[in-house]
Symmetry: C2
Subunit: 254 residues, 2 copies
DNA sequence: TTTAATTTTTGATGTGGGTCAAATGAGATC
DNA sequence: GATCTCATTTGACCCACATCAAAAATTAAA
């Protein structure tokens, strides 16, 4: 609202990719320092998005891609009846809006699950820049391709796994993504509700709740509301060994 | 096998994009004729792939993208136990292999469901060309983005739909894709088995079989083995009105 | 602090679709 | 043609998870 608010201004903070801890997980990966600087110059700084606020909504004109810098975002659609279908959760370094390139319009909501800082990348500018920086073009294609792989994995999970395996897979995904970002792999806070998790995994929220208590009873987790501690990572991993495809190599660059 | 076989040789047929009926559905969409010619020059002609033959396998080095020209392909993974998980079906004009850009290796099998002709696009060459043809770069990003949208739709379908809605959605997707390619929207042959359809939709093959007979009993379909006729397209459409998101605009360029 | 609203947990019950099994039908091979 | 093999259909049974309902815990508001 007010351009000169009393709170500590975040506007002045020049967040350069070169100084960002996410650089190896994010768009700049593989670019030399000169090209990173050119990329930095097209990034729009935005004030933080607060819990519950939207980055974009379905039908809106597509102008920018967003990279989560801190915080967490969920993407979801809504039925005419009004209930949400969660598509995905997005953590720092992950890009949101890739599905909108297709037809120049967003196809889902993107809502902050907590106070979230984003880097905004105007797409037309990004496209122009890509044409002159081969490694940036390549990295863009990689990011899109990676999203396709992640979603294909999700489809496979939904098609072939029990509720327990789905939750295990979800927790391991969160754990892995946190640890790549320098956080603990076995002790973290979930930003989303049981309802959101259920919607994402195609389960009733009651089922999610029951599974959390069951995994706790089995000594695999310690759960206190949104605070999750993984007590037996190996056992958690062994829960989804079964239906996995032979060559599942979703390794991130790093 | 033999380079000079007795069958009418397909090697001599120079299939130019400019003369191809798929041009508005395929990669050349949006390119001017000069750029289409430059694209044509990098396409490798291959001999047809016969039913059951593989385009690629998991773990293989990623070198090329493939566009189906005629025929049909299924992509799938395999568990250590040996059973297949179908990821998708690919019809003429559709691209296969996009998930492999991510890490330079294929993550699934691509197998011909019937005799299939493909255009092979060596990826490094394609990338170089994209950097000099902005509309080609844009179209590549659109194709990848579209794949993301399609998969997100699939995830939503698996999360929120009954067996009947899934099959209805599948049939409508096939119908729509056939009609865009100039074939009948209400009378076609399915290239894949009940098993494949079930695996794709997360259903047992018995359930798929039962659903076909049920839809036939309701006068919506006429099914004879792989030959499907849609007798009441409106009723079929109305079957998935419910759980659909508000803004589901998966419109193809054309 | 009290009250209200929301989220999470726990229990009881029902069912859609999976699994097992067997019959039927279609191609393929000889 | 006859036989084999594989795909599809149909039936009987059952269970994982959804649904319904209500209590308990947490957060927000007053």
């Amino acid at each position: 609202m007010s351009a000169n608010s009393k709170v500590v201004s975040l506007d002045g903070i020049k967040v350069a990719c070169s100084g960002c801890s996410l650089t190896t997980l994010c768009l700049p990966f593989g670019l030399d320092s000169e090209d990173v600087e050119r990329l930095e110059r097209i990034i729009k700084r935005n004030r933080p998005v607060h819990r519950g606020q939207l980055l974009f909504s379905p039908g809106e004109q597509f102008r920018s891609l967003y990279v989560i810098k801190t915080g967490a975002v969920k993407t979801f659609t809504q039925t005419p009846a009004g209930d949400e279908h969660v598509i995905g959760f997005h953590l720092p370094g992950e890009m949101v809006g890739l599905d909108a390139i297709q037809n120049d319009h967003h196809g889902c909501f993107a809502k902050a699950l907590e106070t979230t800082a984003v880097c905004e990348l105007p797409f037309d500018t990004l496209e122009h820049l890509s044409a002159t920086i081969p490694s940036l073009q390549h990295q863009m294609l990689r990011l899109l391709s990676r999203e396709i792989s992640v979603e294909a994995n999700m489809i496979s999970l939904l098609n072939n796994s029990t509720a327990e395996e789905r939750l295990a897979s979800f927790l391991l995904s969160i754990s892995d993504r946190f640890s790549r970002r320098g956080f603990s792999a076995v002790d973290f806070f979930l930003a989303m509700s049981r309802q959101d998790i259920g919607s994402y995994l195609g389960l009733a929220l009651e089922t999610v709740s029951r599974l959390f208590t069951r995994l706790q009873d089995h000594g695999i987790l310690k759960v206190d509301r949104k605070h999750v501690q993984i007590k037996d990572l190996d056992k958690l991993r062994s829960m989804l060994k079964h239906h996995l495809p032979c060559h599942s190599t979703l390794d991130q660059p790093s």
